[in-house]
């Protein structure tokens, strides 16, 4: 029902600059799909929906990025060289009705741009220092244990407004989707 697609730049990319990696979320089902884009706290897992990006360096596991620490990665690709930085404080912004968006069957949309959506900082700031092949991955997780986990850290509505908001959240399918990794060659 949901297709999450990453698009990378064609051809080798220069070192020292982030690669332009684009995200597309497509409704592949027969019915309308309700979904939210990357919200405050989505990338570092503080609130739902979770959009969790990573960048992995293929090869010897010694890859590193400017300002990024390395994380041991059991995946076959090698070493995770970029992943979301933890939030400094949990004061994430409130969910607003306009954050939930309806996609008609076949309709697609970039969840990391447009009104109310935030860019994926992991991709936007990853600037490799060493040449090589890097894999960009992204997972979308809407399967919150509690619908309240969508609401945010402050300014959360109360009463009817809260109920209306939770009713909107209830329309979002509970799912976990991973995009096919995109490989970017930095030289």
């Amino acid at each position: 029902m949901i297709d999450l697609v990453l698009y990378g730049p064609s051809g080798p990319q220069p070192l020292g600059r982030p690669a332009a990696v684009r995200v597309e979320l497509r409704n592949t089902g027969d019915h309308d799909l309700w979904i939210a884009g990357v919200l405050d706290g989505s990338e570092n897992g503080l609130r739902f929906p979770h959009y969790r990006p990573t960048v992995t360096r293929a090869g010897d596991g010694e890859g590193d990025a400017e300002g990024e620490g390395r994380v041991a990665c059991p995946a076959e690709y090698g070493t995770v060289v970029a992943s979301p930085a933890p939030a400094e404080d949990p004061l994430v912004g409130p969910l607003r009705p306009s954050d939930l968006r309806k996609l008609s069957p076949g309709q697609s949309w970039d969840p990391s741009s447009g009104p109310g959506c935030l860019p994926l900082m992991t991709f936007a700031h990853f600037t490799p220092r060493r040449p090589g092949r890097y894999l960009y991955t992204l997972t979308l997780d809407t399967d919150a244990a509690r619908p309240e986990d969508w609401l945010g850290g402050f300014g959360v509505p109360v009463g009817t407004a809260r109920e209306d908001l939770l009713a909107l959240v209830a329309r979002v399918p509970r799912t976990r989707v991973a995009a096919d990794p995109v490989e970017v060659d930095f030289r």
């Binding site: 600059r17 939030a87 400094e88 900082m121």
Partner: protein, 754 residues
């Protein structure tokens, strides 16, 4: 609300402005107290002088009387150099008629001191018996300031948290020398144009705009942060090396953090701390705590946050009825003696305390109630204590933590400083409005219509059409006209790129933003125009689709726009609301055209009226595609206009190392190719508005003249006169166009005729 009846600005209860006893003054001021009996005449300004005459011995003379009675003034001893003037900046307080006024004056500073925000603000509380209750606040957003050797007079229209007819505020502060104690400010509230209401004489209290008592406790084993030398690590050139403590960082924003209470060391919680536990610890250990609005806050240096890795700090008091009284930092994560750790630790402390002042993260300002505009790159470009280093994304170049620290000058943004110093009381004070409420940097109420308007001026805001296609550039026309048959003189800066005109845009989401031009022009108010029967109005047209915050009309729906013009006499003239509908795209072709018009680079090119900048190449390519592949589409005229105006003019570029200036000469042939089309379709009513047509025609004529074809230049200008020579235009408009054409012809002949 008030325990006194009435309105603190009307002065109906008591005109005998009673100064409070002065608070303590530093010793160096005492030596000046007995000196200075210099009579202060002062250039009070003709209008203020007229007010004094009307009021006779009334409170309009209060400032002078106070000074004549022994107020501060300089004694000019022969041969002795006088010490420098003390800035008037700071906080004052006075009582009148059952109300206490806390006044904040922010129109000057000292070298290296807090930035001048050019505001005056204040909070009223009603006093009765032994009680005092907050009444309301006001802000003069853009006052006029006049200086003489003896006093500073600040005046302007205020916005209030309640409705009052006494909207004009005049503050008079005597100027004193650095060896004298500061003089008292006299605050007068007037019903425009000059009906005097309440007057308050407010002795000086502090150089700080607000003072907060700050109590800090820590858990066993945690070592609270002390100071960081900003010169320890590379920092930007605009940030001098200095020792910053947490109070010092706030002092630079004009806020005093007064360390108070006892620094307790409390037992640690090995499993970390939850919000509930932190709140309970605050109630137990914060000696100044009570559930009420008060300028007091508590910070706990705790060990760690339970259940969430990576959390460096939290303003945990965001759920009950008296929020923002406490915050915590988590020592286990932020500790370290190295300069990088110390720098980060300072930032975390200042950041979390910022939340207690109701400051949101840089990218969250639009989530406030009411919403506020975001800074560049949706706030991620803010160089602020309230941004995350790892989220920093400058307008150009790579972002991230290294880029942030390389550019961060250890400060709040101007809008944040505006909130800290001048935000309405309940929006800032701890324990009042909930976190995120009143955290807006602009109050949409600023654009409410004034209760009375005797300015003699009227502001109109219109667009050529009420419905726009998605992606269509938004151009509005402003008209300022006189409603006074006797005529009015005012400045002639009517474009929103000038600092005296603002446009608020309420977007379909309900968010209200302020149009912020890419380049703000500082203007000279002395250039005035007289509006009378002969010339009752002036006009301006402006592209407002794109500004410092990006595209403002990026989604279909209904937009409400309102403009405000700050007149020479301080009146704020507000236009009626203009409603604009941005239609949904109905076809793929519509979408493609909208994409071609609404990229960031295209927005900049349209706002700048064209550019050769290599950094805008893809934007120019997109506009070229509009011209070449969709040449008859209504959008093409805007692409042609930007390109045509740019071709007609030379373009200067600096080499990447900034050592070489390249000048691309004007390209009249290409300019004519584009502008002739703009003029043609616009004269048929299918292009740009008439003001822009006027501009395009004159620039087209210039291109012809530059090419040596003065005859065609004159014909172009004649056609412009003919276009306006219809009953649809008022005679003074036709006359103005005719005069403009005549002077343009003369100039072109002089420049290119030889």
């Amino acid at each position: 609300m008030s325990t006194a009846s009435g309105d603190p600005t009307t002065g109906t209860a008591d005109f005998s402005a009673t100064p409070l006893a002065d608070t303590s003054f530093p010793e160096e001021w005492e030596s000046g107290q007995e000196s200075g009996q210099e009579s202060v005449r002062g250039d009070y300004g003709t209008e203020a002088g007229a007010t004094e005459r009307v009021q006779g011995e009334g409170p309009g003379r209060a400032a002078e009387q106070r000074q004549a009675a022994g107020g501060p003034a300089a004694r000019a001893e022969s041969g002795a150099a006088l010490p420098a003037h003390r800035p008037t900046r700071g906080r004052y307080r006075g009582i009148s008629g059952g109300y206490e006024l806390t006044l904040r004056v922010d129109v000057d500073s000292v070298p290296g001191g807090p930035k001048v925000l050019r505001k005056v603000s204040g909070d009223f509380s009603s006093t009765g018996g032994g009680t005092q209750a907050y009444f309301g606040s006001f802000l003069v957003d853009a006052p006029t300031v006049s200086w003489t050797s003896t006093q500073v007079v600040i005046r302007g229209i205020a916005s209030y948290t309640w409705q009052t007819a006494y909207t004009l505020v005049r503050v008079t502060v005597p100027r004193s020398r650095t060896n004298q104690r500061p003089g008292a400010a006299t605050v007068e509230f007037l019903r425009p144009p000059n009906q005097l209401g309440a007057t308050y004489v407010c002795p000086y209290v502090s150089p700080y705009f607000r003072t907060v008592e700050w109590e800090q406790d820590s858990v066993t084993g945690a070592v609270p942060f002390l100071s960081y030398d900003t010169g320890s690590l590379p920092q930007p050139a605009n940030s001098p090396a200095r020792i910053l403590t947490v109070p010092r960082a706030y002092a630079e924003a004009g806020i005093e953090l007064l360390v108070s209470g006892t620094a307790n060391v409390i037992a640690n919680s090995r499993n970390g701390w939850t919000n509930t536990e932190l709140h309970a610890a605050m109630e137990t250990n914060f000696s100044l705590w009570r559930n009420a609005p008060q300028w007091k806050l508590w910070l706990l240096v705790a060990s760690s946050y339970e259940g969430m890795a990576g959390v460096r700090g939290i303003m945990f008091d965001a759920a009950d009825s008296f929020q923002r009284q406490g915050c915590a930092v988590f020592y286990d994560l932020i500790q370290g003696a190295g300069p990088e750790e110390q720098r980060s630790m300072l930032r975390t402390y200042v950041h979390e305390i910022g939340h207690a002042f109701n400051l949101l993260h840089s990218w969250q300002k639009n989530l406030a109630t009411p919403p506020a505009p975001l800074g560049g790159n949706n706030g991620f470009a803010d160089l602020s204590w309230m941004n995350y280093p790892q989220n920093y994304q400058p307008l150009n170049g790579n972002g991230g933590a290294a880029a942030y620290w390389g550019a961060f000058p250890f400060q709040f943004t101007d809008n944040e400083q505006m909130h800290l110093r001048h935000g309405f009381y309940r929006n800032v004070v701890m324990g009042a409005n909930a976190f995120g409420t009143g955290a807006a940097d602009i109050e949409p109420a600023l654009f409410d219509e004034p209760l009375t308007d005797e300015s003699g001026l009227r502001l109109g805001l219109r667009a050529d059409k009420s419905g726009l296609a998605f992606g269509e550039p938004v151009v509005v026309e402003l008209k300022l006209e006189t409603t006074d048959l006797r005529g009015r003189a005012t400045h002639n800066h009517l474009h929103p790129d000038d600092e005296l005109v603002s446009i608020a845009i309420r977007q379909p989401s309900g968010r209200t933003v302020l149009y912020r031009p890419l380049l703000r022009r500082c203007v000279d108010q002395d250039q005035t125009v007289r509006l009378d029967a002969g010339r009752p109005a002036i006009y301006s047209s402006a592209y407002i689709g794109y500004g410092r915050d990006g595209h403002y009309f990026q989604q279909p729906g209904t937009y409400q726009l309102r403009a405000a013009y700050l007149a020479s006499d301080g009146s704020r003239i507000v236009s009626p609301v203009l409603r604009l509908d941005v239609r949904h795209p109905v076809s793929q072709a519509d979408l493609r055209l909208a994409e071609l018009m609404t990229g960031e680079e295209q927005g900049k090119i349209l706002a700048l009226r064209g550019s050769d900048s290599p950094s805008l190449q893809s934007g120019n390519d997109a506009l070229q595609e509009v011209i070449e592949r969709h040449g008859t589409h209504p959008f093409a005229v805007y692409a042609r206009l930007a390109k045509g105006l740019n071709f007609e003019h030379e373009f200067k570029s600096l080499s990447p190392d900034k050592t070489e200036l390249t000048v691309r000469p004007p390209d009249p042939k290409s300019g004519i190719e584009q502008l002739a089309q703009v003029v043609k379709v616009s004269q048929q009513g299918k292009g740009v508005d008439n003001l822009t047509l006027n501009l395009a025609s004159r620039r087209l004529a210039r291109a012809y003249a530059r090419q040596g074809d003065l005859e065609e230049a004159n014909s172009t200008l004649d056609r412009l006169v003919k276009h306006f020579d219809t009953p649809a235009f008022k005679p003074f408009v036709k006359d103005a166009v005719r005069d403009q054409v005549d002077s343009t012809k003369a100039r072109l002949t002089e420049e290119f005729g030889g």
